[in-house]
Symmetry: C2
Subunit: 267 residues, 2 copies
């Protein structure tokens, strides 16, 4: 929030929550856990999904871990600020988790596999922590699912920089379309994947602002410095791409992006 | 026309795919016309949509036109074979229709604008045939919405041939994402567009076979000869692309494609 330029007007805050609510509902509306169940959230980051999860299943007990001590501290603050008491936060690496086999009823993994070099192996490790019959839920985006009007080769080039940087860091920004085979490869049963498409046009100003502008385009803008430093693109080309993405927020613009949500069962 | 309250809701789209599993339901479930209403289907082709439309609204009267006399004859046979008596078929050009202004209550246009050099002008012509308050419904695909696993540059090259051939013929195979601005440009009010995403993986074998293999890949295979004749690609490259599309129908493959359905009102 350090570079948040729109101030803290309560109405603005309310509007932002409404927008956030749109995407949150799209991704999480069908995830609730029974009272008393033990849920592992692997890779909680700063707790953005943790608060949603724990609020929606107040009777479940969440154990949320992240490899970054700093992120865990931020998540702890966020969870406390939300007044939630059903979340335990711990620093831990997914490949060295301090839990016994069959410790959990459910596992939740959101926007994590995209950063891992061995996503199917990570899922297998997580599945081993489940009791038989327990479920794994995975949510991932896919930057190759982004298309828009007006179309623009420059915009696709800027997006390509993000994909390439993530690949060089050992991740995969095109992972959403692979959620099904990854979950099957991890040995999960009854795998079902459902796409969650975000479509924004001028008749949906909340999505245009909240998703096209402030989520997707802002994310691409955020890789400008590393993309230039890595020599992936020159500055004018990158800036033209970002400008073209902003252009899709115009009155005649449209923007499409798809998240993929998968569930599977430990047999 | 029924007032479809779920709008573009991706969950609804997902539910439809899970429940019905057919493309017809995904695209047409929310289009029904009241008894006694007069509906113009512009560009009926060989009547594939005509039969669906007229069957679902048995009390409405359909006038289905196509520029091709041959297609109209085929549509006439298909309508007769379906035992439908609420369809009148006529040969006519969209830009020279033999109807007076305000002749119809509703207009339906499916997989037609993609072939026209002036799609917004065509929509404006059609809107002028509506009584005030009448609706226009548009359905179009978008070949830029196709992505898949395993990803393959060769497959994208083969798809690009189809897009380029359609562009050379004066059309636009990337029109789905433009349905909203086209309908607005045609002067329609209350325009709402909802994407209808098809997602196929091995857990949905009907879609893998019916859509990925027999609809999309078959369509791309169908442009092999013209693509080679136009010098857009060499034969081994095209064939590698088609092979890669077939590869997405494997046990670990996935395939995504999105149709766009728009409705607007004549003010």
């Amino acid at each position: 929030m350090s570079d948040y330029v729109h101030g803290y007007d309560p109405r603005e805050s309310e509007r932002l929550q409404d927008q956030a609510g749109t995407l949150v509902d799209l991704l999480h509306h069908d995830t609730t856990y029974p009272d008393g169940s033990a849920v592992l959230e692997a890779g909680c980051g700063v707790g953005a999904q943790t608060v949603t999860l724990a609020s929606r299943s107040p009777g479940a007990r969440f154990t949320s871990v992240d490899v970054s001590e700093e992120s865990v501290a931020a998540a702890r603050e966020r969870v406390a600020a939300a007044g939630l008491h059903n979340v335990e936060l711990r620093q831990a690496d997914i490949f060295a988790l301090p839990f016994a086999p069959a410790s959990f009823d459910h596992v939740f993994v959101c926007f994590v596999l995209e950063h891992l070099a061995r996503p199917a192996a990570a899922l297998a490790v997580l599945a081993a922590l489940l009791k038989p019959g327990g479920t794994v839920t995975v949510i991932e985006g896919d930057h190759g699912s982004a298309y828009f009007h007006p179309d623009s080769p420059a915009a696709h080039e800027a997006i390509r920089c993000q994909v390439e940087l993530q690949a060089r860091a050992g991740g995969d920004a095109l992972i959403g379309r692979q959620v099904y085979p990854l979950m099957v490869a991890a040995g999960l049963d009854a795998v079902r994947v459902s796409p969650r498409m975000v479509y924004a046009d001028a008749s949906r100003p909340g999505l245009v602002d909240g998703f096209t502008r402030r989520t997707f385009t802002a994310m691409i803008e955020g890789v400008r410095a590393p993309a230039l430093a890595a020599g992936l693109i020159d500055a004018p080309s990158f800036d033209a791409g970002v400008e073209a993405l902003h252009r899709t927020t115009g009155a005649d613009g449209t923007f499409c992006y798809t998240f993929f949500k998968g569930t599977g069962v430990r047999g």
